[in-house]
């Protein structure tokens, strides 16, 4: 008994020594948090975003790192859940990260950002589009992607003016992102003289939409907008077509994922999605895409945003000459960065000065650009 106890004691001290040793060693690296959804229904989109950032990290470390130190990522999975995002944020703070790239879901970014703000940690999100992310006056929070009030305007205008729909049904997944985007579509669609005949929330785990689709049918809608993610968009579209409703199906950036096409298959007709430019056609992005595909396979929609979020952050830290968040934030606000997304400049709120949403569609089982 005694020998067991002393063995346990020895192990304890050995473990403690290891932890302390690791702490001392970590002084020579700059720790950056990488937070976002890795598992669950949005897992694929979040994982491919992480891979993008990973490529930027390896490029910088190959060049010799940042401020004379190597950069290291501390990555955490928030499972796309707001409460888990808060736990992840607290873990990252205690890990001693100087900045965070993430999160992906707006519903996660918003609560997590308050913890980063209290701890004076800079945050840059590659994927959260809800307006509230930057509307709360957090000076050290940036996003390298457009806003839903820009995205929703593009979608609603397309439905009203190009597709000539006068009645639309808006369905959303009750999250900050999905419902927020739905609200923006409603606002713009009504402003353009259209009528929103149905505005309904469907929670994240539901996969049987037939009751709502009956309501869509009897509402006389001429188009359906889905504010939500690809996991539900696939079955929703399939059940829409199964029940004989051949209405145009509009959605946002959360749907433009290969998984959506895998589920929808040949039923992906009349699909219109808002998203950024086609990076296949942008020469500056080719280097990244080649590198990504060689290492991780097909890229996700947010891979390049993950990549450039990391690049812009590293450039700003280098120019500031410090990892102090207030100074890095000043650099981010004052400069224009040259990236494969085009020139990136942030406004007072931390949003992009120019967002570039365009309409995509599906042809022959592939996402292609439709119209500006």
């Amino acid at each position: 008994m005694k020998s067991i106890r002393s063995a346990v004691g020895l192990l304890y001290w050995a473990a403690l020594a290891c932890v302390l040793g690791a702490c001392q060693k970590s002084e020579s690296v700059i720790k950056i948090g990488l937070a976002g959804v890795q598992t669950g229904s949005d897992g694929q989109i979040g994982t491919t975003m992480f891979y993008g950032s990973q490529i930027a990290l390896d490029e910088w470390n190959a060049k010799g790192g940042l401020l004379g130190k190597k950069i290291a990522f501390v990555s955490r999975d928030d499972e796309g859940k707001p409460n888990q995002a808060v736990a992840v944020a607290q873990e990252l703070v205690s890990e001693g990260v100087v900045a965070v790239i993430g999160h992906f879901n707006s519903g996660c970014t918003i609560p997590a950002s308050e913890i980063y703000q209290q701890s004076g940690i800079l945050q840059i999100t590659p994927g959260s589009t809800n307006p509230q992310v930057t509307e709360r006056g957090i000076r050290t929070l940036f996003r390298i992607v457009g806003r839903d009030d820009q995205q929703g305007v593009v979608a609603a205008t397309y439905a009203r003016n190009t597709l000539k729909a006068s009645k639309i049904a808006v369905l959303h997944n009750k999250t900050a992102y999905g419902q927020g985007l739905g609200e923006e579509v409603r606002k713009t669609f009504e402003k353009l003289g259209g009528e929103v005949v149905l505005f309904s929330g469907i929670s994240g785990e539901e996969m049987d939409f037939r009751a709502t689709l009956s309501a869509v049918r009897s509402s006389g809608a001429q188009a359906v907008f889905w504010g939500g993610m690809y996991g539900q968009a696939g079955p929703l579209l399939v059940q829409l077509r199964d029940s004989g409703l051949n209405l145009p199906f509009l959605s946002g950036d959360g749907t433009i994922v290969q998984e959506f096409l895998n589920t929808a298959g040949a039923k992906a007709t009349g699909v219109y999605l808002t998203f950024g430019p086609d990076f296949e056609k942008i020469p500056a992005a080719q280097g990244f895409l080649e590198k990504y595909r060689a290492r991780f396979g097909p890229e996700g929609p947010y891979s390049i945003y993950g990549y450039e979020a990391a690049n812009v952050l590293f450039k700003a830290i280098e120019e500031a000459g410090t990892t102090e968040s207030a100074k890095v934030a000043d650099v981010l606000r004052s400069r224009t960065f040259d990236t494969s997304l085009g020139p990136v400049a942030f406004d007072e709120k931390g949003d992009l000065r120019t967002a570039n949403y365009i309409i995509w569609t599906v042809r022959n089982g592939k996402f292609v650009t439709e119209a500006p």
Partner: protein, 301 residues
């Protein structure tokens, strides 16, 4: 009209899963919280079996689907039986909280097993096999139509429930189950094979859940490792609503919940669906604490 059929189809599924909860409660007085996971295992087993069969002798329409469904039922029953042997049988004399905790643990294990061993993303049901059922619409009027699959769901659920009633009331093993439910010790004293009756209850409940799983995975087109959670919750609610332990009660509860969900989301809005369900549950439990058809006092969790 259309939403009534939607509601009936949804209710039939809830009823099938609720039967598993209510039968286990009836015989053991415990709630098998891993039952939703058996439903999910049924979904995955069917897709897996169809994949294997298509690889073995090519995609044969209809045959693969039926064989896949049968294999799913067999595999899920095996899981249900194993659950009873591993997680519950040894705890039969323990305090009631012990098998309850065991059930919750089992549900976590099964979910994580599928998440880590199969996929953390959703899986699509092979459209080739389900297409003829989902794509063919039966017109009911100018504005309403029902898919062949919905008719299949209704007919086969009612058939399965009829079979269950026959089994329980007209066969020897059904008699053994009823005797065990009434008084386990007394039944053992007069020679009823109690262990076999209890194991059979689990097998029966699991095969109904697997049948429901096969139909739901075709109906929604996709399946995921956490698909069993919300189904389990709803079916459990249905069992409580009808009076847990009471078999016709579970069927009634399933149909009430299915109908109320679809009627609410059609006429008021999808956001009110769960609210209405639980308001109905609260009202029923306030007026009839033992559920609509419940007889026994629910003194166990």
């Amino acid at each position: 009209m259309e939403f009534l059929v939607n509601g009936l189809a949804r209710g039939a599924i809830y009823a099938l899963v609720a039967l598993g909860y209510t039968m286990v409660y009836g015989i053991l007085g415990m709630i098998n919280f891993a039952h939703g996971e058996i439903f999910m295992i049924g979904m995955f087993a069917c897709v897996f079996a169809i994949g294997v069969l298509s690889a073995a002798w090519g995609p044969v329409l209809g045959v693969n689907l039926v064989l896949g469904a049968v294999l799913a039922i067999v595999l899920a029953s095996a899981y249900g039986y194993a659950n009873e042997r591993i997680a519950y049988r040894r705890l039969r004399r323990a305090h009631i909280l012990a098998p309850l905790t065991s059930a919750i643990g089992l549900s976590i294990v099964l979910q994580n097993f599928i998440m880590l061993g199969v996929s953390k993303d959703k899986i699509d049901f092979p459209r080739f096999d389900s297409g003829p059922l989902t794509d063919n619409l039966v017109r009911l009027g100018p504005e309403a139509s029902v898919s062949l699959l919905q008719i299949v769901i209704l007919v086969s659920s009612v058939g399965l429930m009829g079979g269950l009633f026959f089994l329980i009331h007209r066969t020897r093993i059904g008699l053994a189950m009823r005797a065990t439910a009434q008084d386990r010790r007394m039944a053992a004293l007069v020679g009823v094979p109690v262990n076999r009756a209890i194991a059979f209850t689990f097998v029966l409940g699991s095969s109904l859940a697997a049948a429901a799983g096969v139909m739901v995975s075709m109906y929604q087109g996709v399946l995921r490792f956490d698909s069993g959670y919300s189904m389990g919750l709803k079916a459990f609610t249905a069992a409580v609503l009808g009076g847990i332990g009471n078999i016709p009660g579970a069927v009634l509860g399933g149909f009430i919940i299915g109908m109320s969900e679809d009627v609410t989301s059609y006429s008021i809005g999808n956001d009110w669906k769960d609210g209405t369900t639980f308001i109905i549950l609260m009202l029923v439990l306030t007026l009839r604490p033992r559920g609509l058809l419940g007889e026994r006092v629910a003194d166990k969790v």
